[in-house]
């Protein structure tokens, strides 16, 4: 039953991303979007263990984290379409979507930029002393930025209730991880900082759920951890980027073969935990939810130009 819910959440993310891609092709989504499809098991498996009071920080590829943490698909889609009813009133867009009401402190356009912020959120959790934790999602590219290292050190030194989740999809735009990193990667670096770390198959929802469960529990006891999830970037770096310019055909299609959703679905049926009909119903439900989200987003107005300097400051206006 639990895993059927997880299946449903993953599917919701998948359908959301598919819809974003469609709407983008139709010219309804401005800018670039970095789609999360194929990586759904990670956000879903980790957030499965979180409550509304826990915090997450995210990246440029943040739709999945947002939905998994409990954000509303309609308000998210409205944001991504630049509408006034979006979570950020159209100011943020795909790369800055946030929903503070569910503890989602924001996607981030700067690779690694949210990691220092996560240490502060985690320190807030620690000071509150009520077992809350913070999860920082980031890509393998962020491992190369200095703030990754600084944040690991701080988390380790202060025993922060902070779980680092690396989504190792092997690419940063057009450069594979082997041409960007020497050494042992995120796990080895975390270990060198005294942070317990482990790797998991990020395309296997069950494996992610299990590994994350342990690490979340440790984090709640003030033991920071790092989970390195192997996964695959299905498409181009962003939705409009032709990926085959620098990737082999095989690498481009390997993702679909390893699809975490199909994999979980098969396993549920094989284990007798769900029937094909139940999965079908979940899929239909996801479609309905995304249709509703689209209707909500499309009916929301664009922000008015005169409001361009609203929300810069808490107190008073720009001047």
């Amino acid at each position: 039953m639990e895993y059927l819910q997880i299946y449903g959440k993953m599917l919701l993310i998948r359908r959301f991303e598919q819809r974003v891609a469609e709407l983008q092709r139709a010219g309804e989504v401005p800018g670039f979007t970095h789609l999360y499809w194929g990586q759904e098991a990670i956000a879903t498996g980790v957030c499965h263990w979180l409550t509304e009071d826990d915090y997450v920080v995210s990246t440029h590829r943040g739709h999945g984290h947002c939905l998994a943490k409990g954000a509303d698909a309609g308000r998210m889609l409205a944001e991504i379409m630049g509408r006034e009813d979006g979570y950020c009133r159209g100011r943020g867009g795909s790369m800055h979507v946030a929903d503070f009401s569910c503890g989602m402190l924001g996607a981030n356009g700067i690779v690694g930029g949210s990691l220092p912020i996560s240490t502060g959120a985690a320190l807030a959790c620690k000071l509150a002393g009520d077992g809350k934790i913070t999860v920082a999602f980031f890509g393998d590219g962020a491992v190369e930025e200095g703030v990754f290292h600084e944040s690991l050190n701080l988390a380790s030194l202060w025993s922060l209730p902070l779980l680092f989740v690396c989504e190792n999809n092997q690419w940063a735009i057009s450069v594979p991880v082997g041409r960007r990193q020497a050494g042992g990667g995120a796990v080895a670096l975390a270990a060198a900082h005294g942070i317990s770390a482990c790797a998991v198959d990020g395309n296997d929802a069950v494996a992610v759920v299990e590994a994350a469960g342990e690490m979340v529990m440790s984090a709640r006891q003030g033991k920071p951890g790092l989970l390195n999830c192997q996964t695959i970037r299905w498409g181009g770096h962003h939705s409009a980027q032709p990926t085959r310019a620098y990737r082999t055909e095989e690498d481009c299609t390997r993702g679909e073969a390893a699809c975490p959703i199909a994999r979980l679905g098969k396993r549920l049926v094989a284990d007798g935990e769900a029937t094909e009909e139940q999965l079908q119903a979940v899929r239909a439900e996801a479609d309905r939810a995304i249709d509703a989200a689209q209707r909500f987003a499309q009916s929301s107005p664009l922000p008015r130009a005169e409001t361009v300097t609203d929300y810069v400051y808490y107190e008073g206006s720009a001047e």
């Binding site: 009133r89 943020g92 503070f100 930029g113 220092p116 502060g120 959120a121 959790c125 808490y314 001047e319």
Partner: protein
């Protein structure tokens, strides 16, 4: 009013804020046992303990970001940078993250973080410990910037900064920490965005902030002996900028000199000069005279360091030029 130092005034603001509001915490390097290299955090660790006073590793980007995270989650962090120069290591976290988060989240984020950092060329600290880059931060929407010149303003502005729900950068001047001045005994606040006329005069307005306010006051003394009555407007805040106070003063004196310790080119004085010329086009009797640091990094050797940043004599000369007096006239 008791006389206390600028450093003690800042220390008092911190201690009072921490007593009043349990959500106020401080972060920074060497702020514990040592009490900060300029003594501003002295006694805080003893009084409030390690759950309120966080001594950080040497990683400015991370601990500024840590402050941001704390602020997003309901705390009121006050983060000390040992020198303003080191903000460059944390520039992304200050200007790309903290300053923008409220806007980018459409008003969801509330970010009551105070950053404190010392500026100024003093005592041959050389190019990487002497900068006055206030223009960068004043050019960053979302970030409040204040620059106290006196102990009383240091207390009042820092107290207001901590209470402000936006990120505020308090640029302190290294030369001032040991300077004593009168400070009100009780509760004292200086509102963000309010300049102060620190000396009245009818012949010319000198606009400055931080240490330049003090030099302007000295210059005004000297000029008074020559019969020139200079008004000194201390900006105190760069964001919000008190445009009314500036324009108000110059509309009376009809002449203005603007002084800043930052590099002159594309610096603070340009904005003030442009403002005054724009608003008082028909009233001004002479072009605004700008005084700022030379086009160079801050040098080490004392005669060069002195030559690099404005001195009292430079302000006096600028006022004379503004009044149309050639050096030969005097």
């Amino acid at each position: 009013m008791g006389q206390i130092t600028y450093a003690a005034a800042l220390n008092r603001a911190l201690a009072e804020a921490m007593r009043e509001d349990p959500k106020v915490v401080v972060l920074g390097e060497d702020i514990g046992a040592l009490g900060g290299i300029f003594t501003v955090t002295q006694g805080l660790l003893e009084e409030f303990g390690p759950a309120r006073v966080f001594e950080t590793p040497l990683s400015e980007a991370c601990y500024v970001g840590c402050g941001t995270g704390l602020a997003l989650c309901g705390w009121r962090p006050v983060v000390e940078l040992m020198f303003t120069d080191f903000l460059m290591v944390a520039m992304d976290q200050v200007c790309n993250q903290a300053a923008k988060l409220r806007y980018m989240t459409g008003g969801q984020a509330k970010l009551p973080m105070t950053l404190r950092a010392p500026i100024g060329a003093r005592n041959s600290a050389a190019a990487q410990h002497s900068q006055s880059p206030q223009a960068w931060f004043a050019h960053t929407p979302g970030l409040r910037v204040v620059m106290p010149a006196t102990p009383a303003d240091a207390l009042g502005l820092l107290a207001s900064a901590i209470e402000c729900d936006d990120p505020v950068l308090v640029l302190e001047h290294k030369s001032h920490y040991g300077d004593k001045g009168p400070v009100p005994e009780g509760r004292h606040r200086v509102p963000l965005g309010k300049a102060e006329v620190k000396r009245s005069g009818k012949d010319v307005t000198i606009v400055g902030c931080s240490r330049m306010t003090l030099l302007a006051l000295e210059a005004a003394e000297q000029l008074a002996a020559e019969g020139i009555e200079a008004e000194v407007v201390d900006l105190r805040s760069l964001n919000p900028l008190d445009r009314e106070a500036i324009v108000g003063s110059v509309s009376r004196t009809r002449r203005a000199v603007v002084v800043d310790e930052g590099v002159l080119d594309f610096g603070i004085t340009a904005e003030i000069a442009a403002l005054v010329h724009g608003e008082l086009f028909d009233e001004l009797l002479a072009p605004v005279v700008r005084v700022g640091a030379v086009h160079a990094p801050i040098p080490f050797s004392p005669p060069l360091e002195r030559a690099a940043v404005p001195q009292v004599a430079d302000i006096v000369a600028a006022v004379r030029r503004c009044l149309g007096k050639k050096p030969a006239d005097i």
